[in-house]
Symmetry: C2
Subunit: 446 residues, 2 copies
């Protein structure tokens, strides 16, 4: 007996994600401290690890914690505030005025807590965020015990977070320094978009991102309209401009990417750019459709994000890959496009790879971090069980997520979060509802 | 005090669907026997109905029972059996062989029970079915206390249900007669598709449907491939052939309708044909995309169906209208297309209208049947509540459905069905899993 924490999770199915498509029936995952040490048939568990503390998860599938590759977490507080509008009306008349009026540390604290609660209840163990007050987002996440890659925002507009470009950089670097030692928190530069960030800032980001070895999280080609604007302002299409600024490489997390022609896809593939697909947000705002099937065929690493709750409106990655898998087929005309196992890879191993964390996260393999979610497939809605991976993508609801562990620590047990106060979080959300809603035209407000 | 059953449901919100977009805050629905008698502010309930038995549904929204306009209910037993395949491979190598091997009264009984359980847990109170052994489907549904419009199948191929066209008609008419007196069961003719039903049968159906005053439930233009085949075999496109056969009218429930040009849309609108949109099935099989925004703009009555669980794979109408609302925006390029309230109409009042039941069903109005579902919006995933209808369409999961009443009778209480044996249904599904799965290539079978 040593002081090392060791336990096993024995489930009806283990879906390691690597290798793709594999389902291990009646297997156990052995966890030591924050890591997976072995995955073996449950019949062999007692012999290999006599007396090991074991949790039996009959009817459950274990899979890697899900990774949300594009989030504006604190925007949960604007969920349903404005829908079914032209993008310009939605932004100018609803989202931006609400942000200008309410955004600050308390707003970001309460909104992010609500998002973290929703993430954990949906099997999400890491989110890649892009919002103001990243220090608050990082602190809230760290307290919850889940992981985040915290975007350090840069935009050529003053906000309550920073008055000018220099201040964005200074405050961002402060946040990076403050959370450098934390196991669960990493950072990325988060320049808003090509149309809202100048060349000097991009060059500065490129240099710093290399020195700090962090990703660059960028909205890119969300709509076709960006192309004409870029040609007018820079004499170049956005992708060509990013190429000229030496930003196209494996460090780039290019979010949305709807307006791509075949030559663009080849460029993206050649430079190893990571594409982050946000199908539901793109559909809802009628932004365009990311050619996922073609990108995958070209060898591009595609992961998936929910986007913020103001444009989706659920932070539901299982729902998001269902949409991604269906939309890829409908849009390409090929029902074999993005099969279930490829969709599951998008919110696990592909996401980990995009963040440069594939050695630690994204699949259930010995030596990797014990970020695990347990999904109960015994509900009538997932009967009969001819194919576990098909069910996870096409039939399972996130409400079937029962348990979540991050770095070997249990954060969700029977759908109850162990590190968050649900009543307080919901009560805070309702208090914001009164404040934000009162200033907003909403006939159906609660 | 009389022998009449009268009770009230007091909810935080009542969404009557008619008029569209209205949300009544803190209202009560008063029910007498099988009907709604009044909807009034809860503050006035005691005065108007002193001592009335009242159930308080704090944090819940009440809305009309949802109506699934295209189902092959018994196909739940093939959920996840075969996915991500070309349509011809999926049908010829997987679905049809499995049906040929297993389909019969026991299969349809067990599969339909599983579907009915899933429907009720998802707030669905009526489904429009199209499958073999409709007598069994009708009996199972009737026993459960929910409603169905039972399709009487006609197809120019022998099956275990009927050997030839005459037998399809004879057996169908028997089923119609047998269930004629039942309040909860209606019937429709269900000719399979233009490519699998001859002109004589269509003419016979038209005549009988008029005499019996029942709808005609038809797969029409599921794929563009049907057009060339029809021109080859009949010298006419399918829509023109149906027009020539006098089938285009308000009695027709035209399911799928993906391959429509602007002239077709005008034809459909002029004849009052009801379009049943199955967005998730159409995407998954890459069948094509129904131009919903254009159809609605032309005044066509559009409702929504899940299709069977072998091609979707969940029988989830809330999920289906989320997809319908998002896809309509993405496909039309107009983010104002199919706003949330229009999406909700598709699975309530539009569906009732398509079935000719709009005087009885599809909205919460005095005099209508008390088919009601109660959805709990207090979950973190639907906080804050700026807009109830937005949440129902864009953020709510069917797992938030707590209670269901059909014709004033409670069928679901705290997510538990009151007329179905869940353990038995799940156990039957698992028994079919072993039988069907054993004969099927599925690496990941349970």
């Amino acid at each position: 007996m040593s002081g090392i924490t060791r336990f096993a999770l024995s489930a009806s199915w283990v879906v390691p994600v690597e290798p793709e498509g594999v389902v291990l029936k009646d297997h156990s995952v052995v966890i030591e401290q924050d890591r997976i040490v072995e995955i073996l048939p449950t019949t062999e568990l007692d012999q290999r690890y006599p007396g090991i503390a074991t949790e039996s998860l009959d009817g459950h599938a274990l899979l890697p914690g899900l990774i949300n590759m594009h989030a504006h977490s604190a925007m949960t507080l604007m969920r349903g505030l404005a829908d079914d509008l032209q993008l310009s009306v939605w932004l100018n008349d609803h989202i931006w005025p609400a942000e200008q009026r309410w955004m600050g540390p308390e707003y970001v604290h309460d909104g992010t807590q609500l998002a973290v609660l929703e993430y954990l209840r949906g099997g999400i163990t890491l989110f890649n965020d892009n919002y103001f007050f990243p220090d608050v987002t990082a602190a809230v996440t760290s307290q919850s015990g889940m992981r985040a890659c915290i975007g350090l925002p840069v935009i050529n507009f003053p906000t309550v977070w920073a008055q000018n470009t220099d201040e964005y950089f200074a405050r961002g670097l402060e946040v990076h320094q403050a959370f450098k030692g934390e196991q669960l928190i990493s950072t990325a530069f988060a320049p808003h978009a090509p149309y809202s960030v100048d060349n000097d800032s991009f060059l500065r980001i490129r240099k710093l991102a290399e020195e700090m070895d962090v990703p660059i999280h960028l909205h890119l080609l969300e709509t076709a309209g960006e192309i004409a604007d870029s040609e007018r302002d820079y004499g170049l299409k956005p992708l060509a401009r990013m190429q000229q600024l030496n930003l196209l490489d494996t460090r780039l997390l290019a979010v949305h990417m709807t307006a791509l022609n075949d030559a663009d896809i080849e460029t993206v593939a050649r430079h190893g750019v990571n594409v982050v697909h946000c199908p539901e947000s793109n559909l809802k705002l009628a932004s365009g459709i990311c050619p996922v099937a073609k990108l995958i065929a070209a060898g591009v690493n595609v992961s998936v994000g929910t986007d913020g709750a103001a444009s989706n409106n659920d932070l539901d990655l299982l729902g998001e890959i269902r949409t991604a898998a269906l939309l890829a087929k409908g849009f390409s005309g090929d029902p074999e496009a993005v099969p279930a196992s490829a969709a599951l890879a998008m919110i696990t191993i592909n996401a980990a790879r995009a963040l440069g964390m594939e050695a630690q996260l994204g699949s259930l393999l010995p030596g990797k971090q014990a970020d695990i979610c347990a999904i109960d497939l015994s509900a009538p809605e997932t009967q009969p069980i001819h194919n576990v991976i098909s069910h996870l993508v096409y039939a399972t609801s996130r409400q079937q997520v029962q348990h979540v562990w991050v770095a070997g620590r249990r954060l969700l047990k029977n759908r109850e979060p162990l590190t968050l106060d649900v009543d307080e979080i919901v009560s805070n959300a309702r208090s914001w509802q009164k404040r934000v809603g009162k200033n907003h035209a909403s006939k159906a407000a609660g």
